[in-house]
Amino acid sequence: MSLPETLMKRLHAAPAGEPEWLTEKRRAGASYFETVGFPTRRDEAWKYTDMSRFSDLEFGQADNAELDQASYDALKLDIDACRLVFVDGLFNAELSDLDSMPEGVAITPLSQALKSDQPAVSEQLGHLTGIDFSAFSALNTALTGEGAIVTIGKRQAVEKPIYLLFISRNNAAPVMSHPRILVNCDTESEATLIEHYAGEQGAANLTNVVTEIEMAPASRLSHYKLQEASQSEYHVASIQVDQKRDTNFISHNLNLGGAVVRNDLVSDLNDENATVDLLGLFFGQDRQHIDNHTKVNHNAPRTYSNENYKGILDGRARGVFNGRVYIKRDAQQVLGYQNNANLLLSDRAEIDTKPELEIYADDVQCSHGTTTGQLDENAIFALRARGIDEQMARGLLTLAFANEVMERIHHRVLTDRVERAVAGKLPDRFNLESLVEDTSL
């Protein structure tokens, strides 16, 4: 497959003055990516999402991280948090807030950590994803330079969320960025991490992020990924979690924006009593394409997983869900549960769903279920009979459908933001504000 010339050049031009280990990793990433190229529909994992289009797209690179205040105010979450802000992949120190860092947490922009060649970076970068997690993650390895390295100290329960905000500008020429987020949760720690992807109207950049999360025994992490990029943005995310004994990982994968979106989320349950909760919500409109791939590897006995993904598709949007539960030989007494429910609001929308079980141990309980359908006409009738007009009834029921995932969000500001975003995607006559006032919620 032919790759764009500018991309090829960039792949082979490793930035000068970098530590040797990084140059080596970049080379490995570049050569892997060159071998496989952008995935096409012939790759089983990309059957429903054709990425070969990237071969024809040209992306530049941002040279500054300036952002006007109005844009920033409109896009950020108003949340009391340890905040790092990135604009088109570049770190913006002014907008970030690292002064009031709570005890036991260390957050460093990746560029700074690389400059000072912190040993933690060389240990963690690519430790979980390797080189061959996917073509996009290899591309990230080859080209990354910014991101965050987050360390939660031993026995630290951090109340303030760690907030990483990635803003995509509406540039004259689209750019690509490859943020790398490295998270290390030490023993018995507890924290909340919010990855927030937002963009100016009309932004058409490519964000290709890789997140690697290492969880030491008995650590807990709530992970929120709120993706509300512009409807012309390309967004690819690869998340790999390594869970040790007694860990608890909760993922909230909330996808509301983007033109073409792909999430690959892999959790390895590597020791007993590791638990993972995967919650997902996606709402596609117009020609949005949202693809969620998740994989839970039960590599040890007595590990538990629970997954619930809900999709709403309107217009000509297309949604993809592929969830795999894998149980290794002799990983006995495992519980694995998987659910995917989809609501199609338009006849031109499409959902392709594939919940998979791959099981090599007998003393397990696994199940999955998926449904695809529409709003219950009887429920709509029941509401209308009570004086609620049809649009409002449809809106309420759609919101209720999404609520199963939204109600698991334990941050008021986030819940509000998501609820409003979902309501905002509903037909015009559905007015959440008036509803909120009416019931004085």
């Binding site: 030989r329 006849d347 998979e356 791959e358």
Partner: protein, 480 residues
């Protein structure tokens, strides 16, 4: 614990492994145009049929063997297989059972299927396929009275060329997939059924397939056409003798249901699965597809799969007619080192079409089993409905059970549901039975039978009995 009983079950012997010694008229191994011409000539086929075969052969040459299934087997040497084998003296075929080679009858006796008895008592017409050529066909007259055509495909090509030409390859085209292309090129026999308009077939039709000569692949081709408002229930059952060399089987079954027609196709497959180490055993690569061509037509697949070393089989329904219906009921049991990748495809094309999928998988020993299914609802198939349930039962900690259901839903006025579970026989279930004085073996048998009940009740009476017997035989080992 039931472990010991389970292990014994995993070691069960293949009870129907024996070889009948009949001299075969076999071509040397290998495949080229001359072999195809030989088969065609042997069958006394017209030129168009030979051309059709050659066309398939040329397509096959350009294809590669599929590798997407969850199966692991060494590459097949297609030049090491002999593509034709027929019992001697095909010219003077026996006219009645008395004339049938006694050895052949003996084979059926050993299988526990006394042909005449079965035919007479059960009222079933049997078109017995022994090594590629139909040896005997019973109840022809009775069927002829109803206007039903039931004969071997070779005979149909000679006697009813216009019917065969009209429908052959319209459901499974020559180049559909690797194995279908191979079958189209070299198929040697199979059944042809035509039920005329408005006729309900007076009896259940049944064919017994049997693989015999070593190293001979079997390539059956079955075509069933049900005209408007016609109905038929077709039974297919298979057993094969014990062999050390892998035998390739690549059958194609095509069903065509016109308006208001109903075809029920039931299979019990009990081919030799190979020995404890996975040596020998049948490779079963089957393409089965039904086309609900007319409005309100209905096709129902029921299968009980207990045999074969490798099973690659996805009986499917193309729901083209409005309000047409597709059904798939399956029990698959794998044991030893068997591997099965099986499931179904339901393609909803017409409006208000519905489909039901019930799949029960039981994996024991070191076997691996996958359910692979596709439910596709096209944008214009509004008002469509699908319900899928696939449950897997694991017996022992060396086996694997996998589920790969694909769903592609293209409109908002359809309802699709899918459920799957995987677990073992519950210790509490076993304890409950045992505390009431039921032995562990009986309890396992009872629970497994209950697990499969949803599918067994879809089988025609004779088959249901046979299937349950087969399961009992399977579980017999666990009693000791």
């Amino acid at each position: 614990m039931a472990t010991e009983a389970m292990e014994q079950l995993a070691r069960r012997e293949y009870k129907q492994g024996f070889v009948t010694d009949i001299e075969s008229d076999t071509v040397p191994p290998g495949l080229d145009e001359s072999v195809i011409a030989f088969i065609s000539q042997k069958k006394g086929e017209p030129q168009w049929m030979l051309d059709w075969r050659l066309e398939a052969y040329h397509q096959w040459l350009k294809m590669t063997s599929p590798s997407w299934a969850h199966l692991d087997y060494p590459p097949i040497d297609y030049q090491a297989i002999s593509y034709f084998s027929a019992p001697k003296k095909p010219e003077d075929r026996p006219q009645s059972l008395d004339e049938v080679d006694p050895k052949l009858l003996e084979t059926y006796e050993k299988l526990g299927i006394p042909l005449h008895e079965r035919a007479a008592l059960a009222g079933v017409a049997v078109d017995a396929v022994f090594d590629s050529v139909s040896v005997t066909t019973t109840f022809r007259e009775k069927l002829a009275e109803a206007g039903v055509i039931f004969c071997s495909i070779s005979e149909a090509i000679r006697e009813y060329p216009e019917l065969v030409r009209q429908y052959l390859g319209t459901v499974v085209p020559q180049g559909d997939n690797y194995f279908a292309a191979l079958n189209s090129a070299v198929f040697t026999d199979g059944s042809f059924v035509y039920i005329p308009e408005g006729v309900t077939c007076p009896m259940e039709l049944s064919t017994y397939f049997r693989i015999n000569a070593a190293n001979t692949g079997q390539f059956e081709r079955t075509l069933i056409v049900c005209d408007k408002r016609a109905q038929v229930s077709y039974l297919e059952g298979c057993t094969a003798p014990q062999r050390d060399e892998n035998q390739l089987h690549a059958a194609v079954v095509e069903l065509v249901a016109l308006e208001d027609a109903y075809i029920k196709y039931s299979t019990v497959q009990n081919w030799y699965p190979g020995d404890e180490d996975g040596k020998g055993g049948i490779y079963n690569f089957v393409t089965k597809r039904g086309d609900c061509r007319g409005d309100r037509s209905r096709i129902s697949w029921t299968q009980v799969e207990t045999g074969s070393a490798i099973t690659w089989k996805y009986p499917s329904c193309l729901l083209r007619g409005n309000e047409s219906k597709g059904e798939f009921y399956s029990v698959a049991v794998t044991n030893g080192r068997q591997q099965a990748d099986t499931g179904t495809k339901m393609i909803h094309i017409g409006k208000n079409t519905s489909s039901t999928i019930v799949s029960k998988g039981i994996a024991a020993g070191k076997s691996n089993q996958s359910y692979r299914g596709l439910v596709k609802v096209s944008p214009r198939a509004t008002g469509s409905r699908n319900f899928t349930q696939c449950d897997s039962l694991l017996i022992g900690d060396k086996c694997g059970a996998h589920t790969f259901p694909y769903q592609e839903i293209g409109n908002s006025r359809s309802t699709i549901e899918h459920e799957a579970t995987t677990s073992k026989i519950g210790d509490d279930q076993l304890f409950y039975c045992k505390s009431r004085g039921i032995s562990e073996e009986d309890a396992v048998s009872m629970i497994v039978n209950g697990f499969c009940k949803d599918v067994f009740q879809e089988l025609p009476m004779e088959f249901a009995v046979e299937a349950e017997a087969l399961l009992s035989v399977t579980l017999e080992g666990s009693v000791g």
